[in-house]
Subunit: 327 residues, 2 copies
């Protein structure tokens, strides 16, 4: 295992310390590193809290800041945060307007956020994301997995909360964005969880995993590596089929790197995916390309498509100032 | 070779098309993809132009925009842009205030930018960056290599040019920033240039290359992988020794990923490097952490330190709006 670390046990703590120090103008680390919260809390707004296993950086701590999350709870690598982390984060940033939990659909995350919501005494609601069309059931989830589309939910609901939207409406908006969003990923290499010390799975020199999960979970099938155009075509088709083949309209196209894929290849994949969407009659009116929802050092990428309307587009465009996303 | 591409020959063109489409609000691709320029040129200001081999993304095209570069010329992967690319970029964005070329110190880049400067008919000056302390001479350069510190030069001079600084002063400022900046890199894996198809170099399962260049050029020595703390300590020591052991003052600490290293590890390295600098009496008053000056999918990182003063800090803090750097 080749990693820039001191020890497996202290890796997450040291990385969080570095993150908090590098972005001290935006975030503060909570006691015992249980959560990362905004330095300047948004007074009377609904507080957005997300979290999950670490190893997907910048998700979620990198999205804490104006226009997006109020706090994020980092679990150990690929391990859910504990209920007490979530309760403490909610207590720290929640006010009268209440707390909205944004949870990726994995068994551990759902259970721990549910337990936290029961213990937390203020008003709270939950949005569960499940944008991954690859598989209906996985080793980590009942039902579809929540993956890169979670960023889109956090950005759009974050903007709405910043503008004063109430808790019930924020939850409905999050559910709506999730319902309009689909993702699928492909892996060219595995990743190595530090505590395990060996690759999560193995791929042959010419193989790729189509439909891979963000923890290296199996996808739809293991096949020979093909051209970017063929890969993008299969991914976009899977997404559009699941969206009932929309024939027109504006979409957000988000090409996300898994951590080990250079920008050069991500923009090339974006170029292929964009042309395929446009041939199908859709207009790519908003774009995001980069490594935002990663799987440690895994090579590969995911494609996410969100069906936009004027309201969602305006929220997407609204000011955001976090460590990883800014406009 | 596992890459998300269609063919080696069209890879760069397709990636540039994707980049220009994804950031159409900020950049425009020049004819025959010879350069990337700002969509909204800065009327009467000094025009900043950089460029170099591709494969280091987001450098340089990702830094085109308000407060930074006016144009960037992408060569083929790890290959200098041609003089005619540079001349056409200068002609497209240069005005009465003149053009400043920012060139990383590699033999091919220096030669081609020099030839372009001779052909270009407007007023022009050149800043050559050579911040890499690893080696005095390399397979690609006479004298020290220009690496991640180039970003710092582009950001600070970009802010000054935006404020109306004249050509001579911009060139002097660039030289000053370069003189106050040092970098060194470490590689955990090689990268594969697509046209070559095989890794540029090979490292054993426990080896790292200390002082590696951004094209995978050899560094100071090949040694066994050690802890992040020991690696950061050797890197920071090399930098501070070369800066004549400054005993106090503010510094910018920039931890840069080479393309295959996750954010989790970069922030951990930042945390180590920051503590070492502070123990030495320096104040890390500005920070940047991310994969900004890459070597395709190479795993590893570089550390860059710039000695700041009030003037440089103010230029660093000024508004910047590019594809890859925004505040």
């Amino acid at each position: 295992m080749k990693k820039l670390i001191n020890s497996v046990d202290t890796m997450l703590a040291e990385s969080l310390d570095g993150f908090a120090a590098a972005h001290a103008d935006i975030v503060v680390l909570g006691p015992e590193r249980k959560f990362v919260r905004r330095r300047s809390p948004g007074s009377a707004k609904v507080a957005l809290i997300s979290g999950g296993g670490s190893g997907h950086e910048p998700l979620h701590a990198g999205f804490v800041g104006t226009g997006m999350l109020d706090a994020a709870c980092p679990g150990q690598i690929f391990t859910s945060p504990t209920p007490d982390q979530i309760v403490e984060a909610a207590t720290a940033v929640g006010g009268k307007a209440g707390v909205l939990f944004i949870v990726k659909n994995y068994a551990g995350d759902c259970m721990n956020f549910e337990m936290a919501a029961e213990v937390f005494e203020g008003p709270a609601a939950t949005v569960v994301t499940n944008d991954d069309v690859a598989v209906e059931k996985s080793t980590h989830s009942t039902g579809r997995r929540g993956v890169a589309g979670t960023l889109v939910v956090e950005k759009i609901v974050g903007a709405a909360a910043e503008k004063g939207m109430d808790l019930k409406s924020c939850a409905e908006l999050g559910t709506e964005v999730n319902a309009r969003t689909r993702s699928i990923g492909v892996a060219l290499t595995s990743c190595t969880v530090p505590a395990a010390g060996t690759p999560t799975f193995t791929l042959g020199a010419d193989e790729m995993e189509m439909g891979v999960g963000i923890h290296g979970e199996p996808g739809r099938r293991r096949v020979n590596l093909s051209s970017a155009e063929i890969i993008a075509s299969e991914m976009v088709n899977a997404i559009l089929t699941d969206l009932d083949h929309p024939a027109s309209g504006d979409v957000l196209l988000f090409v996300n790197g898994f951590g080990g894929t250079p920008a050069l290849e991500l923009y090339l994949m974006y170029n292929s995916a964009r042309r395929i969407l446009e041939k199908r009659g859709l207009v790519v009116s908003r774009s995001l390309v980069g490594s935002y929802v990663t799987s440690l050092e895994m090579a590969g990428c995911s494609i996410t498509v969100t069906l936009l309307d004027a309201k969602l587009t305006a929220f997407w465009d609204d000011h955001v100032h976090t460590a990883a996303l800014r406009w």
